[in-house]
Amino acid sequence: MNAQRVARKSFLQGCRDSLPVCLTFLFLFSSIGALASKAGFSLLQATAMTLTVHAAPLQALIVQQSDTLGVAALLVATVLVNFRFVIMSSVLAEQFQHISLGRSLLSAQLLSISTFTLSNRCSTGPGDAYAYYLGCGITTLGCAIAATAAGHLIGASPSAQLAQLVAIILPVHFTALACHAAGGNRALQATVAGFVLTPLIGGPLGSLHVLVVPLGIAALLCAMDARSQGDAS
């Protein structure tokens, strides 16, 4: 099979695999669209925000606190809420080193927790990982923009029970993906540790848990890796 066909197949696979994420995004971003409408953002502003910010927690913060947020507060919030993008982008940069800088920078906007999780899972497979990432990213971002516009136009959030049901899809999907992540047992250990330590560190340190939990766990597991290598040699 030639490279173009592999890339096309991987792209379509990425589109298909991101459908559960799209279902969640449909509800998540329609809620953000409805909130944006109530907060006085125009349809163009709401959809432009989803296209350019592409991070639901930060968007929710912006629309809910648009009257009180200053530049410094917004920048600090962005760094804290979106710090995980730095880690995820670093991992993907290593995987996509063969892609030209221009294409990498253009597709950087497609990076989200969902696209990273899906792409990182298939990074060791036989397909074209970059085409797969594009398939996931274009599908989910397109769905997020459409849902934001729909939410803004309709101006209503889903019912509480439906929202509760939809809210379980993302964690269940991510849990299943984490169980298949590249990296085997260590990756699973890091995921479980991240899950357990988030409330324990988040209590005393607040938003700083976004930085402290992943970096602390990574340092600990690297030390354990080094120790087990030392014992083996």
């Binding site: 695999d17 006085g40 982008s89 290593e94 080193q97 984490a178 990296g183 995921t191 988030t198 690297c222």
Partner: protein
């Protein structure tokens, strides 16, 4: 700040956080098993755990972690996610746990367990 300034500031900062590592790691030729890459892989997996936790519970239990065990809906969500993990490892599938656990949670909500 007006709406466009807020959006522009957040967009620029978010894009920089996504793109700077692409520029930095392009200049470093690191092997996949190098300590720096392993560190980032571990950190990314820990982020996943964090995201799963926050998607389930938000920050509601940060001040009182023991309250997880007193909240029926919290315990139900925790059980569903653990079942999803076990099912994913057993069946080597993403789709089966997704459908089974969502259906299970929907049934529990209908029966009023949540």
């Amino acid at each position: 700040m007006n709406g466009w300034t807020l959006i522009g500031t957040a967009a620029a900062a978010s894009y920089l956080m996504r793109s700077i590592p692409l520029l930095v790691f392009r200049r470093l030729s690191l092997r996949r098993d190098s300590p720096a890459i392993r560190f980032l892989q571990h950190a990314a997996s820990a982020v996943m755990g964090s995201v799963i936790y926050l998607a389930l519970f938000g920050e509601a239990f940060f001040a009182r972690p023991a309250a997880h065990l007193q909240d029926t809906d919290g315990l139900l969500k925790l059980a569903i996610v653990m079942f999803a993990g076990a099912l994913a490892l057993w069946r080597r599938s993403v789709f089966i746990p997704l459908i089974a656990c969502t259906a299970l949670y929907a049934a529990a909500l209908l029966l009023g367990a949540g």
